[in-house]
């Protein structure tokens, strides 16, 4: 099997999508989880709340994974033989990957920092849970924009369900 340039570009797009989104998600989750561990070390009852704030930053990686899988499916890189993909469509796939990848990177890190801060606020004052959650969820919107744009690019380039 010889991989054409178009399909190779789609593979790069998929890599960028999950790579950067996963990086942001991992860093964000690490920061939030470190805060969660600190909170639990002081108050065992904080486990559930700490986990919720740490898990929030997982979604960016999920979005990246989703786009990566859709790209690979679209190009026939999984579940079939590679389809002929034009160079232009391949570049569009890189764009789609970059959209969710970079949006996920920033969003994940931002959410992690807010999550760690919120865990601190909740362990200091239990009544802060709802407010902390709202602030932490705000960063999610950037990842959703990235996801939306990535899907629109894929639709426009006929990479989705092609």
């Amino acid at each position: 099997m010889v991989l054409e340039i178009g399909a190779a570009l789609v593979a790069i797009g998929a890599g960028v999508a999950i790579g950067f989104a996963g990086l942001g998600s991992g860093l964000g989750q690490g920061i939030a989880a470190a805060g969660g561990v600190g909170a639990v070390a002081e108050d065992k009852g904080m486990f559930a709340q700490g986990l919720i704030f740490a898990v929030l930053a997982e979604t960016q990686a999920i979005y990246g994974l989703l786009i990566a899988i859709l790209l690979m499916l679209g190009a026939g890189l999984i579940g079939g033989t590679p389809k002929p993909i034009s160079v232009a469509a391949g570049l569009a796939a890189v764009g789609a990957g970059a959209a969710i990848g970079f949006a996920g990177l920033g969003s994940g890190i931002g959410q992690g920092i807010t999550g760690a801060s919120s865990v601190g606020a909740v362990v200091e004052d239990k009544d802060m849970f709802a407010q902390g959650l709202i602030f932490a969820v705000l960063s999610e919107t950037q990842a959703i924009y990235g996801l939306l744009v990535a899907i629109l690019i894929m639709l426009g380039a006929s990479l989705l369900g092609a």
Partner: protein, 385 residues
């Protein structure tokens, strides 16, 4: 369309589209790497504080509220105060183990030791120096106990079981006089510090030179440890410690001036490096004629306004206590400002330390007041910070 792209690629000097795409991929990789470095660098400062800050904020949440403090003040006697604190999990284990004041100090020392263990490694050396506070406190307590001819058991009740010397205090407790205490400290920096102040003690018969030399040694060490700030958090910690040192220097100068002491009397106790108030300014202040002159000489510094505001109270009462209280408040305000300014770094830790120190100070005031007969609750409230 395809022909157009091929001709553009050819005009750019590429024989086909493949090398151009390769170049684009390379550029993309470089851009990606730059983005990662730019994004991750600030995180390197934030990440080490996520864990300690969560722990510290949990402890901040357990700081006594105004309502709780009022309930403690309204206790009928010391037993009720003790029982109230026994009901708080943070204090219970110490209350059951030690006399009340020792329990309060031990609780505070335990917090310092925990922080020393959990703070990021960049600022760990500063916290290690902060722990010397308990060694110095213990040495001072033993010296004071010897002077007051207290029994071994009474002296043990003054000792806080923290610091580097905690396992070697027995030798000091058994010492019969100051010289034996210094001998017992052989091999530590404290022996040298006390040795230097010994002639002044022998000349005056007062322990003040010994205590002051230990305090000076501690604060100088602290300032030195904090003097090479590596990042925003370390800079903030330096400013907090520096403000404490300025306040300590000013406090010594103000007291000395209130008692009519001159430059030579004060100079040995001053931390000459200072922070905002540097050596030349300290010299000016020490040479001032009066408390009023010291305050007016501070124009242009952060301490001028707060001391000017407290000056009428000093003039009225003749006591420097209001001026010292203003300086303490300035240190607390600095801590509060840092806790807000650097929420993802050292801020919450500095804020917690300041609040915890204040809590313990207030509880000690209440404890001492409850020992006195006829000390009214309103008078206690006046003494709280």
């Amino acid at each position: 369309m395809a022909d157009g792209i091929i001709s553009i690629v050819a005009q750019m000097g590429f024989p086909s589209i493949d090398p151009l795409l390769g170049l684009l991929a390379l550029v993309g990789l470089i851009v990606g790497a730059i983005v990662i470095v730019v994004v991750i660098r600030p995180l390197l400062d934030i990440f080490p504080y996520a864990y300690p800050n969560a722990r510290v904020r949990a402890r901040t949440g357990k700081i006594l509220t105004e309502k709780q403090l009022t309930e403690i003040i309204e206790s009928n006697d010391l037993t009720e105060v003790t029982n109230y604190l026994r009901g708080l999990p943070d204090y219970a284990k110490y209350i059951d183990q030690y006399p009340l004041e020792k329990a309060l100090d031990t609780h505070l020392a335990d917090n310092y030791e925990t922080l020393t263990k959990i703070v990021p490694k960049d600022i760990k050396p500063i916290f290690s120096v902060l722990l010397q506070k308990w060694d110095i406190r213990n040495i001072k307590s033993i010296i004071a106990a010897k002077e007051a001819d207290l029994s071994r058991e009474e002296t043990v009740n003054l000792i806080v079981p923290f610091g580097e010397l905690k396992d070697s205090l027995d030798k000091l407790l058994d010492a019969k006089n100051i010289t034996e205490i210094i001998n017992g400290l052989e091999g530590t920096a404290y022996a040298h510090v006390l040795d230097e102040a010994l002639p002044a003690y022998q000349k005056t018969g007062m322990v003040l030179p010994l205590e002051a030399s230990l305090d000076k040694f501690f604060l100088e060490n602290l300032l030195t440890a904090a003097s090479n700030p590596s990042d925003e958090s370390a800079r903030a910690l330096h400013s907090y410690i520096g403000t404490q040192i300025d306040a300590a220097n000013l406090s010594i100068i103000l007291r000395a001036k209130a008692e009519g002491l001159m430059y030579d009397d004060i100079q040995p106790y001053i931390i000459s490096d200072g922070y905002q108030i540097r050596e030349w300014k300290l010299k000016d202040l020490m040479e001032s004629e009066s408390v009023g002159n010291v305050v007016s000489s501070l124009d242009g510094t952060e301490y001028a306004q707060i001391l000017t505001d407290a000056l009428p109270e000093y003039t009225k009462t003749g006591s420097v206590a209001p001026l010292e209280a203003a300086l303490d408040e300035k240190v607390r305000q600095t801590a509060k400002a840092l806790s807000v300014k650097i929420p993802f770094g050292i801020g919450p830790i500095v804020g917690f330390l300041s609040k915890k120190e204040k809590e313990i100070r207030n509880l000690k005031v209440i404890t001492r007041a409850k020992r006195e007969i006829g000390f009214s609750n309103s008078k206690i409230k006046e003494l709280l910070v």
